[in-house]
Symmetry: C2
Subunit: 213 residues, 2 copies
């Protein structure tokens, strides 16, 4: 890779945002295909390829998923205590407005031992998360926004998506055109939480002590 | 992003490999910094930033980690049954040969409810995996190989890295110059397992039936 390719890559990476505001519109089939292929090109432990992508094209199903998420948003607010009102003012998803909605589900355990004897479910999940990050970055390279919605009861979502026993929904991905990308993570811009300096998360030969802020 | 940037991004993405063969050498400090910053620019649920990166600069510690991994490789082989001999012939890590070794650890639960009421540990782990995928792609853009080693007992690794209670090691990342990048995933090239077609992992409005191979 030459310096230009490297710089282009970093431009995409640092401009990726978790988007909740969408501008409607459509995603061209060849663009959606490239994004799905980016997900499918992710690494997986023991080459399991445990990700399953479900495109939601049925409006009624989309609305049922939106209801499931709204219910979970209310449960979350109830647990938030004094931050509950602030939380409810934040926009946390764009399920009904985004051009495409894609559920990502972990396939049932296929018995792979390679690289996951000690951490079986963790490694399946990690592979699926890598696939999602690939899709997220690909979406940004395509000038599309993506948001990962994790506000849902996984069992209820599994039922809505006719998942087999052992399959586990991990994400609802909102994807589509946006008016603008946030300049920084929305939770940082809204003052919900601060960014840590890199030094805080970095240790040498031992867990970082967290005093280096 | 223009078409050139997009194409550059996809070149990096599709050329990324899980590397186990390294050519020694060094990683320049500014390159390592860019890769770590790529990890730290990952998305995280509730903006938790739960990843901790530990650079292993101590040779003795590196050797202890290599021993831990070798022990787990033997345990894995014992579980492999008839594929045990084939498995033992595969190179699964380059811990002692790679230029840089970085452990990634999940921070102890900080009590975040935002986006993780129903799947707390899963969402922490997913955020850390996204950070690792970012570093993996960044390494490829820098013409460096990276390999994610998951052959270890997480509790024993936590002890070696002086992790606080509740912190959980997720990966040992081997990073550094390589002679060549594999043309396809090593487990595909070696005939260990086949790549699924995208159609196999893709469903519409319901979990894919797996009959579309």
């Amino acid at each position: 890779m030459d310096a230009e390719t490297r710089n282009a890559f970093y431009r995409v990476l640092h401009a990726r945002r978790d988007m909740r505001h969408f501008a409607g519109g459509k995603v061209a089939p060849e663009v959606l295909q490239r994004i799905l292929e980016a997900g499918h090109a992710a690494p997986s432990v023991g080459f399991m390829q445990p990700w399953r992508f479900i495109r939601i094209s049925d409006r009624k199903l989309r609305e049922e998923l939106a209801e499931l998420v709204e219910k979970e948003r209310q449960y979350t607010a109830e647990r938030m205590g004094e931050r509950s009102a602030d939380f409810l003012r934040l926009k946390v998803e764009g399920i009904l407005e985004c051009a495409e909605l894609i559920a990502v589900v972990m396939a049932p355990d296929d018995g792979t031992i390679f690289g996951r004897r000690t951490m079986p479910e963790e490694m399946t999940l990690a592979s699926c998360a890598c696939a999602i990050e690939n899709m997220w970055l690909a979406a940004r390279a395509e000038n599309l926004g993506m948001g990962w919605v994790s506000f849902f009861d996984p069992q209820q979502m599994a039922a809505l998506l006719c998942c087999p026993p052992g399959a586990k929904p991990l994400a609802l991905l909102c994807l589509g055109p946006v008016s603008d990308f946030y300049k920084a993570p929305m939770l940082e811009l809204s003052g919900w939480r601060k960014r840590r300096p890199l030094s805080f998360v970095l240790g040498e030969n031992r867990y970082p002590d967290g005093n280096k802020q």
